[in-house]
């Protein structure tokens, strides 16, 4: 489970500058920045980003993509997160749905979905967790039964991010019996959230905000052409998505704006707190190098799922450490507020940071995956 260090080429560095210039002119000055991928959805912003060729970057041109490398995509999304740009509308579609459809989808699905994702026109949700299937994802009870020409899908998905703003959801469900391996008999179905039988209800977040939902599926008719990949191969497909889901800068950039706004607004205190802030900056640099190394490895086609679990564990625990340290450095209880000040961002981060090590695979699951690889 070694990582091979890499540096950016001049062209890759130039891309970074290009994105930075775009964001400087694109984003209003006095907006409240996002905390990493915790940000608002702006379909308009997503489309402008797409117009620059920065969505669907790794997708082939024939499907509306740009045939760029994983490293180039890494550079773009790291800049977006560093700026706290409103990325939510396209985030899931661009990060893992597009690569999954490219890898497992049939020709018609690729032609239907990939160009639309690359244009920033489609918002996707992930239908994974259920009331009785969290970390133990293979325990999903949503079930699709065969009909003529399709499937009848029923079940309940929860913690589904942005289902209320999404067009489609990729649902992991059972289509067959588990047999000797409980991971058998699972499939991924693409569900149009406007179809009959789909009910989306908000699950308010602990701070009162609304970004995830419960999605009830009641005898939803799913035609055959909306099955992603092979029926029964859902587990393999889902786990292969996880490298995309776990290794990226969204797993360590959630609290970056705290550092920046603190230095901007409290320069004297920042100088006094040089030691703790310097230790955080050092670790930002190191984890950034690790995630970059993984992006480079993905470009060589290497299998990186264990390394991705390690990066996500290091990154998300570190994000929480940033919140904890900045809270101590600030030394007073921050009040929430609508503006983009350090204080209001810190208040948001303190309350929401526990999610960092839950979403996308808990710390405990990640460590169990890595332990299995170490014991080999």
């Amino acid at each position: 489970v070694r990582f091979t260090p890499t540096t950016l080429t001049e062209a890759e560095q130039a891309l970074r500058d290009e994105v930075r210039d775009f964001l400087a002119s694109e984003l209003p000055k006095n907006r409240r920045p996002g905390l990493g991928m915790d940000t608002e959805a702006s379909p308009e912003f997503s489309r402008r980003l797409a117009a620059r060729g920065w969505l669907g970057m790794t997708i082939p041109r024939q499907y509306g993509g740009h045939e760029r490398s994983a490293v180039e995509r890494f550079v773009v999304i790291e800049e977006l997160l560093a700026a706290g740009a409103p990325v939510a509308a396209h985030w899931v579609a661009d990060r893992q749905i597009a690569p999954a459809i490219l890898a497992f989808g049939n020709e018609a699905q690729r032609r239907r979905f990939l160009p639309a994702i690359a244009r920033g026109d489609l918002c996707f949700s992930l239908g994974m967790s259920e009331p009785d299937a969290g970390s133990d994802l293979a325990a999903v009870k949503s079930r699709a039964v065969r009909t003529r020409g399709g499937w009848l899908l029923s079940g309940t998905k929860i913690w589904t991010s942005r289902a209320h703003e999404s067009h489609f959801m990729v649902v992991l469900c059972r289509t067959g019996e588990p047999g000797s391996d409980r991971h058998d008999g699972l499939s991924q179905l693409i569900v149009d959230l406007s179809w009959p039988g789909v009910t989306v209800r908000p699950i308010p977040f602990l701070d009162g905000s609304h970004h995830f939902d419960e999605v009830a599926l009641s005898e939803v008719e799913v035609p055959d052409d909306m099955v992603l990949g092979e029926p029964g191969a859902g587990w393999r497909q889902v786990t292969s998505e996880l490298t995309h889901e776990r290794s990226g800068p969204d797993r360590y950039m959630s609290a970056w704006k705290l550092i920046e706004t603190f230095i901007a607004e409290h320069p004297a205190e920042a100088e006094q707190a040089a030691v703790p802030i310097g230790i955080l900056v050092a670790r930002y640099w190191a984890i950034h190098q690790m995630s970059l190394a993984l992006a480079r490895a993905m470009d060589t086609g290497a299998s990186t799922s264990v390394q991705a679990a390690m990066v996500k564990d290091l990154g998300t625990v570190f994000e929480q450490e940033v919140v904890r340290v900045m809270q101590q450095v600030f030394g007073r209880d921050p009040f929430p507020g609508p503006g983009g000040s350090f204080e209001s961002l810190l208040a948001q981060a303190i309350v929401t940071a526990p999610a960092y090590t839950l979403r996308g695979g808990t710390t405990e699951i990640l460590r169990t995956i890595t332990a299995r690889a170490l014991a080999r």
Partner: protein, 371 residues
């Protein structure tokens, strides 16, 4: 002197950017050290016996002078780091970093030749004193790695606003023997009004910064090697050791602690390699990267040392079991050339000076960072 399959001649070690050559040098170092840097050799060194055979083999293989010789400005920091990581994996008790990387780099940055014999460079401490009076130099250095064995001791000082490089012949100095946490020789060396002959004026104020970065990089390399060895020992041990009728790694608490170790080791290793590459590319411009690497190693060592001992249980607390050769050196190397907090201070000051707008460019080494 034994011969080894691959000899890192200058041409091999210096093939600029050649990752393959570096791998070969690293493999050579690993093979040599596996044979000559054994538990017994380390124990004898700690008891005060200079491991002459080990040093001779390192010299004969060309590993003590990897990075010296010509006055090219091109410094192969990555090869040095590769060899020092191998040294760390063997808990090397001799001052290879000083002889191969710090000394020659220091002398070359001042335009001086590397003298024959063993060149020592002191680990800086707040207690060091160097004074120049007329054309003589006096001083006291608290931690000179194997000062007792050195032929020359080199260092930097500032006199009336001008940086000086001094090179002192050990024979003219007084050595008081001392050892650090790991039992490695860190001698106190003092000298009084030695003629300034051999002392050169360094016009370049960057020499002190460069030496400090090399010092940090050397310790980061040694530490990552040692941490790799500790991880390997621990990974094996928890799969062999049985309790409650099964290998202890089958307990989730044990497995997860092992994973935390592995994560820290890989993070520190990658940071050190990346910092070495950056240092090779931009020299003093790599201050953030090099200090981050050393700081990452210090932070990693906290977890790695604690977890390795916890997972080994009592056997790891015995003299007989070699874990302490690594964990004690990790503790000592954590302090040398800057603790985690001292590295943090440097980076934090850089961040504050840089300002919010230029911090992200600084971190990503891109346009818009402070010059």
């Amino acid at each position: 002197v034994t011969t080894y399959p691959v000899k890192p001649t200058r041409s091999v070690a210096d093939e600029d950017g050649s990752a393959e050559a570096r791998v070969l040098v690293g493999e050579l170092a690993d093979a040599l050290l596996a044979q000559h840097c054994t538990y017994e050799v380390r124990e004898a060194a700690e008891a005060g016996t200079w491991p002459a055979r080990l040093w001779d083999e390192l010299e004969a293989a060309g590993l003590t002078l990897l990075d010296s010789g010509d006055d090219s400005a091109d410094v192969d920091a990555q090869s040095a780091v590769t060899v020092l990581q191998a040294a760390g994996r063997a808990a090397l008790p001799v001052p290879l970093a000083e002889a191969m990387f710090l000394g020659p780099g220091l002398l070359r940055s001042a335009g001086a030749d590397v003298p024959p014999g063993m060149l020592a460079v002191a680990v800086p401490t707040a207690d060091d004193k160097i004074e120049i009076t007329g054309d003589a130099v006096s001083g006291q250095l608290a931690r000179v790695p194997w000062g007792r064995k050195a032929t020359h001791i080199a260092g930097l000082t500032v006199h009336r606003g001008t940086p000086y490089l001094y090179v002192v012949e050990k024979s003219a100095a007084t050595v008081e023997q001392a050892t650090n946490l790991a039992g490695d020789a860190r001698d106190s060396v003092s000298f009084h009004e030695i003629g300034l002959r051999g002392t050169r004026l360094s016009p370049d104020a960057g020499a002190a910064r460069e030496l400090s970065l090399r010092g940090q990089l050397s310790r980061a390399a040694l530490m990552t090697g040692a941490m790799q060895a500790v991880l390997e020992m621990t990974t094996k041990y928890v799969q062999v050791r049985q309790q409650f009728g099964k290998p202890v790694i089958s307990f989730q608490a044990v497995a997860h602690r092992l994973v935390r170790m592995a994560e820290e080791v890989e993070l520190a290793t990658l940071a050190t390699s990346a910092a070495a590459a950056r240092f090779q590319e931009v020299g003093l411009g790599a201050a953030l990267e090099v200090s981050s690497a050393k700081g990452s190693c210090a932070a990693a060592a906290e977890e790695v040392v604690a977890a390795a001992h916890q997972l080994h249980g009592a056997i790891g607390m015995t003299r007989e079991y070699p874990l302490h050769h690594f964990t004690r050196r990790l503790r000592a190397w954590s302090f040398e050339w800057g603790t985690g907090a001292q590295c943090g201070q440097e980076i934090g000051a850089l961040a504050a000076r840089s300002g919010a707008e230029r911090l992200w460019p600084l971190l990503t080494g891109t346009r818009g960072a402070m010059p």
